[in-house]
């Protein structure tokens, strides 16, 4: 299936600006937002995730190198680190939500195209953002 078919589409599959029939031109802001978040999530996952998986997931736990601990209050309390972790953890979920929804479509689940599925998957991405913000704000106080 082509990438074009996997881009977030407006309901009914229309991608152009709304209001074309009556001569007015209205930007499809909702479509723009979801497409932007999908693209940014993909970029963040592509550029940032492999090095984190390599160092924090493999080399650190296996004891091959000493990697920064996210349980160090001086590290996790830093607002720049908190902001970075928010972007690293939460933003890719907008990309993943779309990918996982279309994975179900590829598996032949037509319900994955429904409005309910969109609410569940993209709402799930919003929930992850809220959860990440909550975790980052409650685990360690912000300190400079």
């Amino acid at each position: 299936m082509s990438e074009e078919l996997h881009l977030p589409a407006r309901r009914g599959g229309r991608r152009e600006a709304a209001g074309g029939d009556n001569g007015t031109s209205r930007p499809a802001l909702a479509h723009l937002f979801w497409w932007f978040m999908f693209a940014q999530g993909g970029v963040i996952a592509a550029i940032l995730l492999p090095v984190h998986i390599l160092f924090q997931g493999i080399l650190g736990p296996l004891g091959l190198v000493r990697v920064v601990s996210l349980h160090n209050p001086n590290i996790i309390g830093n607002p720049i680190v908190k902001l970075y972790l928010l972007v690293l953890i939460a933003v890719p979920f907008f990309h993943f939500a779309h990918r996982l929804r279309y994975l179900l479509v590829d598996f032949g689940v037509p319900a994955a195209k429904s409005l309910l599925a969109q609410v569940v998957f993209y709402g799930g991405a919003v929930l992850v953002i809220i959860l990440t913000i909550y975790v980052l704000l409650t685990t360690a106080p912000i300190s400079f």
Binding site: M1, E3, H6, A39, G42, V43, A45, A46, I47, L48, L49, P50, V51, H52, I53, L54, F55, Q56, G57, I58, G60, P61, L62, V65, R66, V67, V68, S69, L70, H71, I75, I76, L85, L88, I89, P92, F93, H95, F96, R99, L100, Y102, L103, D106, V128, L131, T132, V135, L136, T139
Partner: protein
Amino acid sequence: MAREFTALPLAIWLLWLLYDITQKTTTFGTAFAVFSIVCLPFALYHSFTFLSLAGSIIHLKLLDRPVSSRVIVASQFALWIGASVVIGFLLLRLAQ
């Protein structure tokens, strides 16, 4: 379909990272290392396929001449390598 599937292990990996932050001590042990070894090829596959698409998605003009898609893709891969070096350095340096 493979590209869509990459989202699943990567999403679980990020949720595990978030869960680890909530704990008093790290949960990153051998099990997490094994899971990460499984996740790394998926992450690299996502990176290669996603950044390779940049030439089709990004259209730039420099001095009224279009920048070739190969240059745009190369710049994205250079950005990826540069960011990985910087982040890798920080992950090690901040552990001191």
